[in-house]
């Protein structure tokens, strides 16, 4: 009758020693190496603590239906200003008038967030050549996934041409520019304030350079990027000057500062993976040392009652 192994278990040798002994010192040193070694190794190879991380989100953007359109004509000392800020509207401009503005925000994928804004301005002018435009569009910009950020942001488009134009078409992306990582929690309403003073009192000051400098100083701001623009040369004395702009609100990468548990989780994953290797290696070292009696200790053999 053949015999085969059905079950096995390990016998456990125990080594005992006093507190003040070389074996104690050895164990303490080995334990310290096991605990601190992986930490030092992982920390020195960078990226132990996760400082920043990235995620993707499509922002919730709304056009606030506030704009400033400055049209520079051959009457260079008297540009035509079209705006929803009525203190800026130059009704006394004898040559032109901002007649029609059409805008539409479209949600292409029906996910509840607008994907693009298309806006068209028709400006009626009399015998005036147009040489440049400056357009400021005001947006409401919201992020939800990490910290809840809401701010008023600006889309600024400028074009200046040597030839008089009859039409200007542009398409662009509204991109968020961040100077610092976003927070991963909380509400950030710091920039949810008016960029252009909207108290419609007469004599309200409007200084574009101050507005842009203040805006450029912000921690988070939006910029029109990926611009493709077309200036169609021509005179618009007969018909209106047409300005069409399509602005996309794309999904975008955002850098944020991870929360405590995410940082700890990443650190732990790195630490534990190296720790396992250390445990294995130093267990072998300990086994070798004690089995070969390189360090004196009292060995208890399981099948003997006493020493």
């Amino acid at each position: 009758m053949a015999v085969y192994e059905v079950f096995s278990y390990c016998a456990k040798y125990r080594h005992k020693t006093t507190i003040c002994s070389s074996a104690s010192v050895f164990i303490v040193v080995i334990s310290l190496l096991i605990i601190l070694g992986p930490f030092l190794l992982v920390y020195r190879s960078n990226g132990f603590w996760l400082r920043t991380s990235a995620y993707r989100e499509q922002p919730e953007v709304h056009f606030k239906y506030q704009y400033v359109l400055i049209i520079e004509t051959e009457q260079f000392n008297n540009p035509l200003i079209c705006s929803t800020f009525s203190y800026l509207r130059s009704t006394d401009h004898n040559e032109g008038h901002c007649a029609i503005v059409k805008s539409r925000e479209i949600d292409n994928d029906e996910d509840g967030k607008y994907d693009e804004l298309s806006i068209e301005f028709s400006v009626v002018l009399e015998s005036t050549a147009i040489y440049g435009i400056k357009l400021l569009l005001v947006f409401d910009y919201k992020l939800h996934a990490m910290s809840s950020l809401q701010m008023e942001s600006l889309g600024y488009l400028q074009h200046s041409a040597g030839l008089p134009g009859a039409r200007f078409d542009a398409t662009a992306d509204l991109h968020l520019v961040q100077r610092k990582p976003l927070n991963s929690y909380g509400r950030d309403l710091k920039y949810n304030t008016s960029i252009i003073a909207n108290e419609n009192t007469l004599y309200q000051r409007f200084d574009l350079s101050t507005i842009l400098k203040e805006y450029g100083r912000r921690r988070v701001s939006t910029i029109l990027s990926n611009i493709y623009s077309l200036w169609t040369a021509g005179l618009s004395s007969d018909g209106p000057f047409i300005l069409t702009v399509v602005i996309h609100y794309p999904e975008q990468n955002f850098i944020y500062r991870p929360r405590f548990w995410q940082v700890v989780k990443w650190a732990w994953m790195q630490y534990i993976s190296v720790l396992l290797v250390f445990l294995y290696v130093f267990k072998s070292v300990k086994t070798y040392v004690f089995r070969n009696r390189l360090i004196p200790s009292i060995k208890y053999v399981p099948w003997k009652k006493s020493l």
């Binding site: 239906y65 506030q66 008297n78 200003i81 007469l202 004599y203």
Partner: protein, 720 residues
Amino acid sequence: MTFLKRKVFILLMCIVYALSEDILSSHTEDPLTISVCNNDTENGHCETITTHPSIENSTEFNSSSTTEEIANSTVTQEIEENQNISTEVAETTTLPPSSVPSTLSSTPTPERTTAEPSYDMHFVPEDICSCDITVDYCDINCCCDEDCSASDRQVFSHCFKRPSIAADPRYCYQTNFVYRNNTEYKMVQNKEGMFCILWDNLPSETRFLKRKIVTKLKDFKKLFERRKIYQWKLDVIKEPVFQPVMYRAGTIVWSISNATLSPLVLPNKQITAFCEVSLPVQYLIDWSGSCSSVGLTCTSKSGLSASSYYENVFVIATPQLMNHTHMMYFLEQQECSYNICLPFSLFLCSPDTVSVEDCSLVDDIEVPSYGNETGLCSNVVKQVKYRLHHNGTLGIIKAEAFFWVVNLKSGQTDLKQTFSVEFVWADAPRRVLHRSGNPGYIFGKPVIAGQKIFRSETEEEPDKEAILLSEEQSKWLTFPKPGTGGLCISSMAEGSRIPVNFGENLLSSCIIQLSVRNFSSPENCSLLQRKFLHMLLGDVMINVTEAKQFNMYVSTFGDANVEETGDWVPVLLENMPILSVDWKEEGASLVCKSVVTSLHINIVTSKVGLATKPQTKILGVAVTFGGGRDLVFSCSPSPCSSVDVSKRQKFEIQSSVSFVDVSKPPVIHFAEPPVYEVKLPYDFFYPFLSSGGVKLTYCCYILSTTILFLWQLVLKLLVD
């Protein structure tokens, strides 16, 4: 192969469980196969390319007998014959039929279209015929339009596609294996999750909710609720309203101009550099701005005339006084008493004056007038300054207007005008010393500099040190200022030098014109050296022959105290220029050797004080004169003795300043730990200490308790 040469292609798909990448790349015997399958999911889940089941295929399905397709997952589309496609197809592989799930094995009969298809545009009935736009009128290329007859349809080039339907991303797709999607449908892969719908045997229909129409305004407004809606805003400009309350800082200053009550305004620029708008003067807010006027006409009406800024303009002293009775009186009589409506006292300043103290009081300023003989438009306003003396709550006491006028040449088209408003306390001294910070310097404020003097105020201290600080900022640390054409302004008066402002690393240069007389002798060259040094550093360089004599002190803090000489640092000279300059005549040119024409000042600053409120302090100032330059006056072609004295040559002088911040990072100062005084009963250590009532500090207490504890531990161990 003939089949491939036709104009048909397909969007594909299917499935197989065990097809690996290498099989994929292998060539197949049957080139008709256009389906590709792959299993890249570990659970044997099939990746299928489908479209939404609701997409019906209006065009024909194409397939070969060996191609496995999901009936409602393929969309065929006519395309032009394309060599690429046939290559791609040749590289695909056949699938063993057994590996295809039975539910997917329905194979539509292939139907081939010709290379030149004859368009058979028959009537295609649809539930919603969205291309039928015109009433009782045949819409071109609209195959569902009932108004079109069969013969009408013959002229159609194609049928309008129905509006594209977004594919449901919950269904299984594998876009990686769609080599070429030439359908109108876009593939979107569901990236949120591991599972996708492979086969839906009860396809649901997605519909929008039925919405009721609204007939009541209340219900209409309800629809807007809980939605942040942005829309065009139609509003009107609010005119500032006159209220008979006292002025506060920032409120609009009112005036009666041309018998109407309106804000006191000055022209300003808005978008261009031209005077476009009028901005109101705000109470207690100093302001200055400049803008250009165009379309100049030499008349008394325009903004070029001084009269437009003061004639018939009366400043309301305080709106409080302009109460109802006064207002009624004003409206009826068009008059206003002089204690309420203040007329401007007029001052005329000569073009060079900067300080208004030098302007002269006049009764009237002439209106611009064109002189036919001179061809000039005289008395054109270049600069206007309103100075309003106020008494805080009592409002404006006195109004002064200062005018600088120039003459315009007839061809001049534009003129830059400067406008400013200044408010001064009525009882304040005429000159107010402005601090440059309190205590630390503020960025952009002038660096305060003075000279050390000894004065005997009292008999006890006959030689008390003090700093002589000029009231004029131009006597502080300043650089020469370029005037018209870049020529250095030789005057040392206020406003004719560039102040060295704290923190601004400034580089300035200007031009000095010299005639042959300045080069005629060695003495004149030495005078030239002195002239340059005087120009560079100002009056402090007069009578300085060696570095020790240089007497200039800079205040370390912005709030300079002339009595505390310890708060001032001497300006050090790194090198002293040699005052006696060599002179040489080289052919047709005269040379003054190594004349100092440049100057650099290094100012070392540091942040001091609390890190939360850092104050900037000047630690030291050193002046370095630039290396001497040989100034050559070229007389050629004529010899130098006969050169006209009026012939002048230009020489540039440069000055610069650098601020170097040597701040060290702030150090944390911890508060000293409190000292615990532990009082033990006097006999606590009775046998050990001879005297009772021992006072122990916290430290000693800790030490003693630790010793006791350790002692007990040792005892315990010994007992064990």
